[in-house]
Amino acid sequence: MLAYIVRRLLYAVPILIGVNLLTFLLFFVVNTPDDMARMHLGMKHVTPEAIEQWKADRGYDKPLLYNAQETGMGRLTETIFFEKSVRLFAFQFGRSDAGRDIGHDIAQRMWPSLAIAVPILVFGLLANITVALLLVFFRATYVDAIGVVVLVALMSISALFYIIAGQYVIGKLLHLVPISGYDGGWQALKFIVLPVAVAVLYGIGSGSRWYRTLFLEEAGKDYVRTARAKGLGERVVLLRHILKNALIPILTGVVVLLPLLFMGSLVLESFFGIPGLGSYTIDAIRAQDFAIVRSMVFLGSVLYIIGLLLTDISYTLVDPRVRLS
């Protein structure tokens, strides 16, 4: 088992290197450090000297890949590539183009992201499974038929509509929750209710439909027929047999998402003013703060790979037939 994990981890290294190279190419070809400097120094009275100095301050004044002026290892390490990209492997995110410590920001902003992502996952899962079970229970009746149509309709509505409508009705008309914002501790509750509810509602369409297919497939299997033949009640068959067995693909499907919860939701967070990593990323994109975007790309890739690894492991845990190879 341990050897397997180690092997998977080693496999992750070249992928991260690939991601790193790709982002490096993208970001240093797109905007020259000069452009970034000018934007961050503001509009009034910007001199070329200030731009040079800005670059020097942030280490953008070095050559991209090879520094001929240095000696020894310095030729490779005193470069933008080494300073800005290679250091990411040690999770040294450095400072944003606006001068903030990115690592510190990420550590702080992670929690609000989790505060909405985790409830969305849990309640979403509960809601989706409940709805899907109901539909399966009523399969081949009008409830099922109408239900499926409603689900397709729900998933045909853009997420933006859900958010706009939710904010308008619940926040503005009914005064039930603050329209946007965030606070620490238990105070956070009133801020996350609406985003969570909106996200769960949005997810029901596609989620329940998918689970319904899973359940139906399970319901068609032999052991279920056997169970029914034994005279077990429909409820028992559903909960004991179908749900139990279908949960395996559902839960392993969830595992891959777990690490990415840290990344937060871009749109949800920025609409509701939640200071998580999602809105952090959006702000960085809009302000063209490439140091942050670069860090987030790397972080996202790392988390994704961890997710894959966790999925593999959880498969082997729930299904011993899958060999660790």
């Binding site: 992928i15 509509f161 890739s301 994704y304």
Partner: protein, 479 residues
């Protein structure tokens, strides 16, 4: 009619990059349909698709959207009235499409600012100078919306009702003609008497649900006829901040959505096919390399990759202004690039599925036999493996469509979507967000975008369901 033709002859056609691809796609689909009709084993699952009533209805609705999109894909520039000294003709920098020509009244009849659907007055008060020189603050009359009415307060609703019923009558007549012709076609095709065929269709006893098709088409006929009757006299979806007709914008957005939904798959398809099949067929280091490639791409969060790439494109466009003669070309390139980059982020799923399938097929006896006979790899892949994975491709393409249309809106919100000057539902929703905060609220842009988007995505989803069930009831896609 001859006047129309001579007018069309003066235009200077413009082939935008996406237009070319759209027509390529149309030709490809045409060829595909032709091919499928010749082969029974291919035709059969398609018949299952259309045998489903929801599938048939969805297909009809989609074809209406496609018709709008295609009309909007024939671009040209109009000649300017002014001539050069030597009679040389110059063309306007504005690129128009056939849809623009058809909707010219809508396009050009812009008001000053917001007006509600079917309104005769602006939505905001203005200082008006009365004939006697005094000034009042009131809602001014619209320049075009309901301008034919003498006394809007009393005449408006009767007028709308009258025009609506006229439109519905026109629609019904057109539909009846269409329906009867269609039944005739069916009767001719099946060598059956006309009356018998008509009864079958009305009773819904035909193999394909023609009754459903005709009912859906009927609704579209009615809607179109109604809009044709009313839109020239009113802004049926109101106007936006600068007074542009929202109905026009909504229709223009159809093409954007369709292009994103279809071209994305078109541009990613070759990569996914070639790499997926190669990985599954050759295995070994080829497989490792391709797996590495898609895992790497897959592990970068999609939005970030898209954002970075779109920003990069913007730089390219800005540093090479000489390459783009018109604003439309620039917006178009951005659209195409968005498709490409969306393709790059989404091809991995298909590639993985294809790899698995190809791997399975590679072990099948007849492929093994071909290998033993020394058939060349390229031939095996194209002759034996490719045709047998096409159903996966088809299902993925159809399933992805609606997701991509929805993604466009999100990306436009993030600021890395289509060009801000391009009509798209994403851009409409984005500006509608601000309008929602107005009091009184401006709701019509949002509603218009919502209705059209909902209908399109719903139809696409229903068709996708039908296709999936018909081609492979067991195939499940991971999320």
């Amino acid at each position: 009619m001859p006047e129309t033709l001579t007018y069309l002859a003066t235009l200077k056609p413009v082939l935008l990059r996406t237009d070319a691809l759209v027509f390529l796609l149309v030709i490809a689909i045409g060829g595909f349909v032709f091919y499928v009709r010749r082969h029974v084993h291919l035709r059969e699952p398609w018949q299952r698709v259309f045998a489903r009533r929801s599938g048939m209805a969805a297909a009809v609705v989609l074809s209406a959207f496609v018709a709008v999109g295609l009309l909007d894909s024939v671009h040209f520039r109009e000649p300017l009235e002014q001539r050069g000294n030597d009679g040389e003709v110059f063309y306007s920098v504005e690129v128009l499409s056939l849809l623009d020509l058809a909707l010219r009244p809508l396009k050009e009849r812009s008001e000053k600012t917001y007006s509600a659907p079917f309104a005769t007055h602006l939505y905001a008060k203005e200082t008006l100078e009365l004939p006697d020189g005094s000034k009042v603050r009131d809602y001014p009359r619209l320049l075009y919306g309901g301008a034919h009415l003498g006394d809007p307060e009393h005449e408006r609703w009767p007028d709308i009702l009258q025009r609506s019923s006229q439109g519905l009558i026109n629609g019904t007549v057109a539909w009846l003609i269409f329906a009867l012709l269609w039944v005739g076609l069916l009767a001719h095709h099946g060598s059956r008497p006309y009356g018998w065929m008509l009864r079958q269709v009305v009773a819904g006893r035909t193999a394909l649900p023609w009754r459903t098709m005709l009912v859906t088409a009927g609704m579209i006929f009615l809607a179109v006829a109604w809009a044709m009757e009313l839109a020239p006299h009113y802004h049926i979806f109101g106007t936006d901040k600068v007074g542009q007709d929202v109905f026009y914008q909504t229709l223009k957005s159809v093409r954007t959505a369709l292009v994103i939904g279809t071209l994305t798959t078109l541009v990613m398809l070759p990569f996914a096919l070639v790499l997926g099949i190669m990985a599954g067929y050759f295995r070994g280091w080829v497989d490792d390399g391709i797996q590495y490639l898609y895992t790497t791409l897959n592990s970068i969060p999609g939005v970030l990759l898209i954002a970075s790439a779109v920003l990069m494109l913007q730089v390219y466009i800005d540093t090479h202004p000489e390459l783009f003669e018109t604003a439309a070309e620039r917006a178009d390139l951005r659209l195409l690039f968005l498709c490409i980059i969306l393709g790059v982020t989404s091809w991995t799923t298909l590639c993985r599925l294809l790899r698995g399938e190809a791997m399975k097929l590679q072990g099948v006896e007849y492929v093994q036999a071909a290998v033993a006979f020394g058939v060349r790899d390229r031939r095996i892949m194209s002759r034996h493996i490719l045709p047998n994975v096409m159903h996966i491709v088809l299902i993925t393409v159809v399933l992805d469509f609606s997701g991509l249309v929805l993604a466009e809106a999100i990306l436009s919100y993030v600021g890395v979507g289509v060009d801000p000057s391009m009509h798209s539902w994403g851009n409409m929703i984005n500006s509608a967000r601000l309008e929602m905060a107005r009091e009184p609220m401006v709701w019509w842009s949002l509603l218009a975008a919502f209705v059209f988007m909902f209908v399109l995505v719903l139809a696409a989803n229903l068709l996708a369901d039908a296709v999936r069930d018909a081609f492979d009831p067991r195939l499940r896609r991971g999320r």
